[in-house]
Symmetry: C2
Subunit: 136 residues, 2 copies
């Protein structure tokens, strides 16, 4: 079965959805994300949907479910990278993605989450972790 990878970057988890969100894939992603949130203790989840041509009601519900589960686990979810055509279709379908925050791209999403929790973990790690520097 195909699986959407969950990437940890500093204080956030990043998910880039590129494959069709069939039932099993969606459930697996929800499970993986919940587990990673608990394991890593992050407070933010960014879901990039820039590869999606279509966001139907199932995908919309999946995103809403992910956001709800994350919220219960004390993590905020931001959906980023929505294409203009997708936004138009969503509204035409009467889907307004309730409870889901959006940003134009990953950087703005990080900034949106960062205003709640600092995310400069990233910059520091690069300079202070000797294990990494010796790999040069």
């Amino acid at each position: 079965m195909e699986r959407v990878p969950v990437l940890k970057i500093g204080d956030i988890l990043l998910v880039s959805i590129q494959i069709d969100m069939e039932d099993q894939v969606a459930l697996q992603l929800q499970e993986d994300l919940a587990e990673r949130i608990v394991a890593t203790g992050v407070h933010g989840v960014i879901i990039d949907i820039s590869a999606l041509d279509i966001v139907d009601s199932f995908v919309g519900r999946t995103l809403a479910a992910i956001a709800s589960v994350s919220r219960v686990l004390d993590a905020e979810t931001v959906v980023v990278g929505m294409r203009p055509a997708v936004a138009i279709t969503l509204v035409e379908l009467g889907l307004s993605l309730p409870g889901i925050r959006t940003a134009l791209n990953v950087e703005l999403g990080i900034a949106m989450l960062g205003s709640r929790e600092t995310v400069d973990v990233l910059g520091d790690e690069g300079e202070t972790d000797p294990a990494v520097l010796t790999r040069e």
Copy 2:
């Protein structure tokens, strides 16, 4: 045609490969990446292959080509997230991914690139960009 999204995060471009790397997809990715490197002026590219079960010689050549093109454009490439089984198969096939640097995960990849160029752009942006803060 399917397309692999290229995400910009601070001073790096992040690509998470999840779909089969057929000829057209690979060429398109190479082109997209080169264009984004020039447009954004980043100095690092991270390619996450944690979703790949198999890395055959074609994918290996594609990664090498991406790394070479990036290098010419003054950006370093790090491949991250390789599964243990993939590493074993690669060596068995006699493919050693020459010219490609690797790291275990995205964070270590960022740190590896960060030791050359600071990446704390991220932490700063979240706190200083008023356009983003007002979206709260």
